[in-house]
Symmetry: C2
Subunit: 214 residues, 2 copies
DNA sequence: CCTACCGATCGGTAGG
DNA sequence: CCTACCGATCGGTAGG
């Protein structure tokens, strides 16, 4: 039997229903995708009726757009802070990896697919740009420092551009924010994420290959 | 004006309407996702009416299942062939990468998401297993040879398991089968894929880091 | 923020 | 493999 929760769990009543909706929308949209999440599911998970959503957002796309924008902006702040103190590049990158693995608990590829195929061209343009500014550029900046300091090869010597490094880095991390096969318990979750972060960083700094073979 | 193509382009009339449907289904499902592709879109792209699909497949899920199974089986054959001749591991892996980049022109992550969240538990079990057997195991076998031959570190010396190597390898390749941002023309497409394949293989064999810094 | 309700579209079926 | 059609569900609106 499914009980309808009309009184939301952690809501101190006021003008913050909008924030509740955005939080719930993130959990559902990011897990199942834009198309698969209905406005009725969203409303019920918030303890509201479906038409009530339209008091806070013009339509489903506006709600999705606001949610993604808020999410990207929050992450951008931290990444830009980490990019500013690029002392030891491998150490900073590991912090970036740990932060993202803990903060991004969803499928980035799914989000980008939704942005590309489920939203209007205008909404897509906005989010593409914000993703570039908020995710790729700060990480690329760290990689640029890593190249300058000699940790990584530049494009003239067989390496790739900072943006390409950042893109590869994000792709690899997404492997661990969304497991390819089955899931395990939550006690070892934290430990797994730290070792995953180390693994990805080590892969970039050439510590998986056998040096005797080079 | 949208003309309905009642006579499919390349169909030599007979019992192969089913094959036409499967081909069209792959293009649409793999690009837009299970939920977003309607049975009417599929039928129209095949030059059929929507109920005609149900003469060949019991329902939408059965159609999707058959399509993915056929696709995985075809790829499995080639990967197993490549895994059998593991002479020079880096060279074989580059061939695997080139093959997959040319053969898999869609978003593997989207497919895995559909398998996980849009299909029945039974269908999911079947496809999870086939993906494991058809994609991961053959590639893991090559990596295992690479570890044995000393190209890569084993788990006891800071490396990871062959399956983990294979999983990372597939994740990285998916970055290039589904571009993170905009698309370019098709003339440079082939060249791009070859250099992408080389890049991914080099990343694993530690040729992106600066050896002087190790 | 609710009740009541709308047109459109979905996957699937009947019957030939 | 077609025409005709079904119940369910979708995003969104009216009106209070």
């Amino acid at each position: 039997m499914v009980r309808k929760a009309r009184k939301p769990l952690a809501q101190e009543e006021g003008g913050e229903t909008r924030e509740l909706i955005l939080r719930v929308a993130q959990q559902l949209f990011m897990k199942y995708g834009y198309r698969s999440v209905t406005t009725r599911q969203l409303a019920e998970a918030c303890g509201l009726t479906q038409p009530a959503l339209y008091h806070h957002f013009a339509d489903k796309q506006e709600l999705y757009l606001a949610m993604v924008q808020e999410e990207i902006t929050k992450i951008r702040v931290t990444l830009e802070r980490l990019a500013r103190r690029s002392e030891d590049v491998p150490a900073v990158l590991k912090q970036v990896a740990i932060f993202l693995l803990n903060r991004v608990q969803y499928d980035l590829g799914l989000m980008l697919h939704d942005v590309r195929y489920e939203l209007s061209p205008d909404a897509r343009r906005v989010l593409d740009e914000q993703f570039h500014q908020g995710f790729l550029l700060p990480i690329a900046q760290i990689f640029a420092t890593g190249i300058r300091q000699g940790y990584l090869l530049d494009e003239a010597h067989g390496g790739i551009s900072p943006i390409s490094f950042a893109s590869l880095f994000l792709t690899l991390l997404s492997r661990f924010t969304t497991p390819l096969r089955e899931e395990t318990d939550l006690t070892t979750h934290q430990a797994r994420q730290t070792s995953a972060a180390e693994l990805v960083v080590r892969l970039f700094f050439s510590e998986l290959g056998n040096p005797d073979k080079r």
